[in-house]
Amino acid sequence: MIKDFIKGLWRENPIFVQVLGMCPTLAVTTKALFGFSMGMATTFVVVSSGVVISAIRKFVPEQVRIPMFTVIIATFVTAADYFLKANFFQISKALGPYVPLIVVNCIILGRAEAFASKHGVLRSFLDALGMGVGFTCALIILGSVREILGAGTIFGYRIMWAHFTNWIVMVLPAGAFITLGLLVGIFNVADKKIKAKKQKAQG
């Protein structure tokens, strides 16, 4: 059970390992806060759609499951979008069309297809929550790196020294690609070290 939750955090991390859901990942992470909000919105959608899909999985005919899943996901995304618009208008404005684009975030349909449509409600809930949290963490890391180097702040608080020259490139699209590329590389190195350690401990 716990494993269903944990695996989304590291071993099957949606961004660093599965490389899914790239659009929002790259687009909204100019600031750590935006990354966090996008992560939360996605977590909400992946968890609620995962639970619903898992609950109805026995009544859905095989052939029409993908359109069904998509409609369910789109419904929850609409809810999340309206919620953000009503309560956090500034954030909603900054995220722009990337909130509705959660509909086509491959992570969500991927989890629905690979996990929720085959497992019970509780396990699907944990799996989706793990994926959502793993996704959010990755977004916060990426957003923080870009915000620190690009604006000298993190979550809006200034942490770099006064004469720090902002790396404009980090806020631009190019910075997003390069940062994520390097982060994936660092993740791979770390992952390999951990695996080697484990093997040593066992053998």
Binding site: T78, D81, P97, P100, A174, F177, N188
Partner: protein, 193 residues
Amino acid sequence: MEELILILIAASITNNFVLTYFLGICPFIGVSNKIDSAIGLGMATTFVMTMAATVTWLIYYYILVPYNLVFLQYVTFILVIASFVQFVEMFIRKVSPALYKALGIFLPLITTNCAILGLTLFMVLRNYTFLESVVFGLGAGVGFTLALVIMAGIREELAFADIPEALQGTGITLIIAGMLALAFMGFGGIISG
């Protein structure tokens, strides 16, 4: 007329969907191994984009807005796109089985290509007229194909390069995409200047 040309150039080059809006990254990383399949997928996507822009515009302004159903926007758009992809899939399977096989899973995944849904959302946000939307769809498709083909060309060469182990695959692709994005910024002057 001038407006339309500006939209076309903006959508395909200066505001390239892949390199400035990060839309359609999944196939951009997944299918950019070979130039042939990149061209095939690019053309299929361009077709779906143009048609999706046309049809969703009509639905949005003639059905959703007059009947106050705008909250159904996302659901409707994604269904329209999904049906078009289904159509394209049947067409390619019939016409070119080889291409169909090469594209594999990425063909049905055009549905979840954010570039297409993103296109329809941008179209509504920017209040484009009907003609502008069609041109916008076409331009975005061309831009997507362009980015995909350039990337495929680079990656074919990259097969012979000596890349640090940890960066192989996704890592180096993303870094190259970053450099491409920088290069495309150079086009920025065409429109504003």
